[in-house]
């Protein structure tokens, strides 16, 4: 794995250096547009060179994919909570914890959107939440309720007794147009459903 990482890094460094050198040579007028044009025409002139170029392109895409996966995999592996059982190790990806917290937005109607970021350090589990609230929400009461629910949900689902710190940042308060529309529609319906309501009885 380490060998592949080294190859990937060397490959990308080489490609970037070549691009950089080409740009420098071009800026110094050592490489003329006609030369580039001639090179491109030459490379497209025969079928063999076109096949080689096509294979190189496909190879580059494959190398990029595997390298990206390697890097992303490494990052994913680092962002985990781990504990050991008698049968082996259990690691919980922090993105799984984030998924779990994101679903809490469905439980609390006043929360329109919730974006959590979970970090684990020596102090415990640190949850940073960026929330978008609906206009009718009472912020101190709501945020305290959200903190309690999040904390108990994490403890319940993960079964860990580590310290959980929850920080909430209210990013936006939105005016819920849907509710208002519903209210207006209801008022209109209420008004229109009583026929001849303006007339008195004889």
């Amino acid at each position: 794995m380490r060998f592949l990482t080294v190859i990937g890094i060397v490959f990308y460094a080489t490609v970037i250096i070549v691009i950089g050198l080409t740009l420098i040579v071009f800026s110094l007028n050592l490489l003329l547009p006609q030369d580039i044009n001639g090179l491109l025409i030459f490379s497209q002139s025969s079928q063999n060179s076109r096949i080689i170029i096509g294979f190189c392109g496909a190879l580059l895409i494959l190398i990029s994919f595997s390298f990206a996966q390697l890097i992303l995999g490494k990052f994913q592996r680092e962002r985990t909570i781990a504990f050991t059982t008698s049968s082996g190790q259990v690691t919980i990806s922090l993105s799984a914890v984030e998924d779990l917290i994101r679903r809490l937005a469905g439980i609390i109607p006043e929360v329109k959107e919730l974006r959590p970021n979970v970090v684990v350090n020596k102090k415990g589990i640190l949850v940073d939440m960026r929330v978008v609230l609906r206009s009718e929400a009472n912020i101190p009461e709501l945020t305290s309720r959200l903190q309690d629910i999040t904390k108990s949900k994490i403890q319940e689902v993960l079964g860990l007794e580590e310290q959980i710190i929850i920080r909430i940042h209210v990013a936006k308060i939105v005016h819920d147009e849907k509710d208002n529309r519903k209210k207006k529609d209801f008022e209109k319906e209420d008004y229109s459903t009583i026929p001849f309501s303006g007339y008195g009885r004889a």
Partner: protein
């Protein structure tokens, strides 16, 4: 080492790593609370072209025939993760020992996500 092998009077029986990973996958899926086995790039691409692959499950077989399995999982919302992970470990161990007679050293569970979609 790509496969585990045992010799009897008639010849050699080899068990490929893919067999171990598919047994592990089926055993993991049997446990309540498991949504799916998480995919990686290779298994995702193979699935697009219609081939079922369990390459996301890593299998290591040591020289003294001890098996180490790493199972990435997506868990259903609302279940206790350590509880589900423990049951998966137990079920995978039982399935592997029952079906292949291998001695399982470690079954590492990697919870990659919580089921998305319906509440």
């Amino acid at each position: 080492m790509n496969r585990d092998e045992s010799r009897n009077d008639l010849g050699v029986v080899r068990i490929h790593k893919n067999v171990i990973s598919s047994i592990s996958s089926i055993a993991a899926m049997e446990v309540e609370g498991v949504k799916s086995v998480a995919k990686n790039l290779k298994s995702g691409l193979l699935e697009i072209i219609g081939q079922k692959s369990f390459s996301a499950i890593k299998v290591d077989i040591s020289k003294n025939e001890e098996v180490k399995v790493e199972v990435p999982l997506i868990i259903k919302y609302g279940y206790n993760i350590p509880d589900v992970a423990g049951r998966v470990q137990e079920n995978v161990r039982q399935a592997l020992e029952r079906m292949s007679n291998l001695s399982v050293k470690d079954i590492n569970i990697n919870v990659r996500g919580i089921e998305r979609g319906q509440q």
